[in-house]
Symmetry: C2
Subunit: 659 residues, 2 copies
């Protein structure tokens, strides 16, 4: 519990179950108070009163709340309110419902999973690109000045270091010069010098004594939902481990909207951009603190940080205007950011820690994708591969060592829980696996953490749609079939719906259902991804069958069931061995870039060589999209096995179905 010594504000708002008390003024917006308090409440529309996600319960006290269609009269009586539509009128105790809370445990799990893969990939890349970190660290034992040799302190460093670096001149910025005279003498002329060798040779920091071996870096993947960071060992051989510690958390910006568009909308408010920058920097600072603690590392040991993220996240992180990302023709302000000192944007490490970013390509193909593509090895081969990252947007990259095409499919947030009545992110209580008995149509579900169900995450949605489709409950148009009736299929408020869990079985005391509106959203999402891939292939004069490899990156990829994803037509029907899962490839690329200058250069070259295909106004894409708005697809020839299974009743094995 937080104790505040002085509370000049009129009222106190207490949040449960985390038990945090926040002072508030008459009329203040409840969602904004929660944001100030660091209390996470789902709010996918950015507080615009549209999504109805920010349900809270007023347990005590009063609130001024406007009526909202998503709160029934009965719920209202029980105290349920939308936080974004409520304002302070007095003291209040507010309960945050379980489904609205975020839980970090699932993130830790996925980070650990990707760590397991990391060793082998890292070793291969480091053998190829070399372990030469972006910021080199050199111990110097300088000769003391005397009357025969009294060149300036700065020249003394350059004279020693430039030949080692194979250059004539070194940039010593004013910031480094300040305090150098006293610093060198206090250190008795034994110092460790950090040099940025990534873009230009610039001294970034000078520390006392020999710290050449205490040399670490940090890689950060700044996702819209999640931020993951790793503490990296800069010195060592290719076969030695790189990761010393890992940490992750939800991006604090979630409270300001779940998708990038909501975040950009928020920046249009006065001070909004600054606020979002502060929040993401705070999350990163928290993770850095954990990494340093876990690794037993001093901030001065961190010579540099490499970040990767989508283009919107980069704009918000660096604090530059993101507006044009969402306005046609979607020209971002920048896709590359020059190296700066971390302190310049508030990232808390040592004063000398340098910040690099993996460059992106366009407004919707960012540095996270470039980082993943560089890591995937697809550019090392003549064989054409397809790289996919399906999150809020589906970003796809097609190509090989000679050429790269990329696009963003505007897939919509269905697989992240957006636009789905009981959709949620992959967190404890999320239904992640579903099987439906084709005879009884009764479901069998598994939740993350095996907790009482709270909602459905992306992999669960794919499973349920595939199962209901194969069981004939959903027809090829993606609508509930009128032929099939069952206890679980009923008329709901917004058309037909399938009940996955009855209220008593859940942790939210409401039936968890899949509605026809949900189906619409899932259909659009899967159709957009498939159509995007098809368009890229046709740009390259290829078909799905020509693909050597389909690489699936991102957190969503981890839990996806390829068979089910093929059954709904999200993924192409290819042999299972051609699919490869990469986990957090964005973080992986940032990691290798941090400890291998040549890999960072490769990532830059990947960004430069990608040709961005803008799908948003492409007529071919619209045609392909319409063709994919069918289960699995209008073109049966593209999904022969799925069609066979469908015709055979159930060619897919359904474990435990009793059949």
């Amino acid at each position: 519990m937080m104790h505040l010594k002085t509370m000049p504000s009129e009222y106190r708002i207490r949040f449960l179950p985390i038990d945090r008390i926040i002072p508030a003024e008459e009329g203040e917006n409840l969602l904004e108070i929660a944001m100030k308090a660091g209390v996470h409440i789902n709010a996918s529309c950015g507080g615009r009163g549209v999504c109805g996600k920010c349900r809270v319960r007023m347990a005590e006290g009063s609130l001024g709340s406007s009526i909202h269609p998503s709160i029934s009269e009965g719920d209202h009586t029980m105290g349920f309110r939308l936080a974004c539509a409520s304002s302070v009128t007095g003291d209040a105790v507010i309960e945050i419902p379980l489904e609205s809370q975020v839980d970090r445990s699932v993130l830790r799990r996925s980070t650990i999973m990707s760590d397991v893969d990391a060793g082998a990939i890292d070793g291969g890349l480091l053998r190829e690109y070399g372990r030469e970190p972006l910021v080199e660290r050199h111990k110097l034992d300088l000769p003391r000045p005397d009357l025969q040799d009294n060149v300036s302190d700065a020249a003394r460093i350059t004279r020693e270091l430039a030949p080692r670096l194979g250059c004539e001149e070194l940039l010593l910025p004013l910031k480094v010069l300040r305090g150098l005279g006293t610093g060198l003498r206090n250190a008795d002329w034994n110092v460790t010098v950090d040099v940025d060798v990534g873009v230009r040779r610039e001294v970034t920091g000078i520390t006392k004594g020999d710290r050449e071996k205490s040399h670490y870096a940090i890689a950060v993947d700044i996702g819209t939902t999640t931020i993951a960071a790793q503490l990296l060992v800069c010195v060592g051989g290719a076969s030695e481990g790189v990761i010393l510690a890992s940490s992750s958390d939800y991006n604090g910006q979630i409270s300001f909207g779940e998708d990038v568009i909501s975040r950009i909308m928020y920046t249009r408010k006065r001070g909004g951009l600054k606020k979002l920058q502060d929040v993401v920097v705070s999350t990163i600072n928290l993770l850095i603190g954990e990494l340093l603690y876990e690794g037993g590392i001093d901030p001065a040991d961190i010579s540099h940080i490499v970040v990767a993220g989508n283009t919107t996240m980069m704009h918000l992180f660096y604090g530059v205007e993101p507006k044009h990302i969402m306005l046609a023709p979607y020209a971002p302000l920048a896709t590359a950011f020059a190296p700066v000192a971390c302190s310049e944007i508030g990232v808390k490490t040592a004063a000398h820690t340098r910040l690099f970013a993996i460059p992106g390509v366009s407004s919707y193909v960012g540095g996270d994708i470039v980082s993943g593509v560089a890591l995937s090895g697809m550019t090392e081969s003549d064989e054409v591969s397809l790289f996919m990252d399906i999150g809020t947007n589906g970003e796809i990259v097609l190509g090989n060592g000679q050429w790269l095409l990329c696009a963003s499919c505007s897939a919509g947030p269905a697989f992240e829980g957006g636009g789905i009545e009981f959709g949620m992110r992959a967190a404890p209580g999320a239904i992640e696996k579903v099987r439906v008995n084709p005879v009884t149509l009764e479901p069998m579900i598994l939740t993350i953490g095996r907790a009482k169900p709270l909602g459905i995450c992306g992999s669960g949605l794919i499973d349920i749609v595939a199962e209901l489709f194969l069981a004939g409950v959903i027809d090829r148009n993606g609508k509930f079939s009128l032929d099939k009736t069952a206890a679980r299929v009923r008329e709901g408020v917004s058309g037909r719906e399938y009940v996955l869990c009855f209220a008593a079985e859940t942790n939210i005391e409401r039936d968890i259902v899949l509605t026809e509106i949900d189906l619409d959203n899932i259909m659009r999402t899967k159709a957009a991804v498939y159509a995007g891939c098809k368009v890229l292939l046709e740009h390259g004069g290829l078909a799905f069958g020509d693909l050597g490899m389909v690489i699936i990156a991102g957190g969503f990829g981890h839990s996806i069931d390829v068979e089910k994803a093929i059954a709904v037509g999200l993924l192409p029907e290819l042999p299972a061995e051609r699919f490869r899962f990469m986990g957090n490839a964005s973080l992986g690329g940032a990691r290798i870039a941090a400890i291998s200058r040549r890999f960072f250069e490769k990532a830059n070259q990947v960004a430069r060589s990608m040709t961005n295909i803008e799908l948003s106004n492409d007529t071919q894409f619209m045609d392909e999209f319409m063709a994919a708005m069918f289960l699995p697809h209008t073109d049966d020839r593209a999904f022969p096995e799925t069609i066979k299974a469908l015709k055979g009743g159930s060619g897919f094995r359904v474990p435990g179905s009793g059949s």
Copy 2:
């Protein structure tokens, strides 16, 4: 007069004749109050109570002053006090004596004089090095983004500009990116981009519309005593004029000590370095304001500023620790400073104005000397030249296109008025020319501005010593001869002295005299300079006779009488046509560097190729120094004409002497 609305302090101190009232607390130091008030009082020891220069007169009220040998009992009764040894005890009216005030008119005159020379030198250098300013200015008419071409705003600029600059990548710093999106659209994609092409290709600023032709720079010479600045036209041919306006003022740091050592001493006080930086930046800002006003130029038109100054001035201007400049073995912190935004150190122009510095060589051979040497053309020839800048220190450079040796002679401040009882800087009322009738020994004097005499400046000191020496009043040891008596030669407080002006003729109501202590200081100064030159020549295996040219730079050089300087042994005895005066060569070099990138590179190369000879502990220098402590020198063969004149009674024509 300044009006202050609130005066919470106890007392008021009024300064005359400028009539400025300053509130003060009991016990505050009078010199510090004067500094706060912006009232200049000479104080060559930095307020340490040593030099006795900060004489003021308490016209009314009270002061707590300690007794000081430089204030006689009679003077004390008349209200004279040392400001640095006085503290506030009540209200007071303080008169600043005329000789302590600074007057800018003489600076303006010398600036105008150097402007006259500038045209020819500039034209020659610009034809050789080209008029390509350090910061280029490019007008871009960018294609608007559309769905077929929606690369980022930053990439849009790079794509257009990089081929023009012949490079692949351009650095766009975060500072420039901020606001770029809105800026480009507000400007309807017509912008002018400033690019630093000096050290690396970096975009320094982007402004709306076409400003390609409104392109100006500023050159600044930061002298210990004087700061001179010029507004420069960047565009045009080699033969077109470069200087649009000129301005100069005393360096505001004068109040904190007249020489570099006093300034460095001041930085040891808490906040002292910051204070001195603020003061010099304020002086420069004042000059910039004047230049912009005079030129009718907008701050946004100034793409860059180039500064040159001695090593101490550069440390103070950039705000880095200068301590080790005055401590053996005299290794400065830096002699080169990387380009920064002017705003980073408080220089007020546009946000995008970039700041460059001409690099120096050592603690006592700074960027001012490098700038002058580059301008002098001595490195364009095989003939060996000697470059001299005699101010508080005598900096000398010997060499040609193949090699350069440099040294600082620790000449002492005699020629700037330091250590001389009635010494003063070259300002109105300073005695600048003196002739002595060899028969009557009566002097004829000329003052700057033909004002009533206030004191003696450097050229006047050389004249009077040469004349008294040739007239036999001063012997070859530099002492008053006991053989020669005259009404003007008398016993003073500190030994013999020669009266140049009796009190009634002066503006200070005291006799202006040359004392034996003054003579000692002048002898040391001239001996140090000559000995330094001799040592450099011997390092090069040369003698004075081998010199093709002796180049005299600096304000002092302007008024010097070569014949007299030879007679006292300050300059070597060479034909008059071998001497060349360059005026403010430091400013000239900064000027050409600003508008010619290749000349700036040349200056950098000059700095790198100079070998610094440390004289302070050199036994050969000590020997040469002792040999030069004679008039003109112990070695008669080096000064045959002077010796002949001496033996002949007066071989030098003394106009108006009646002989």
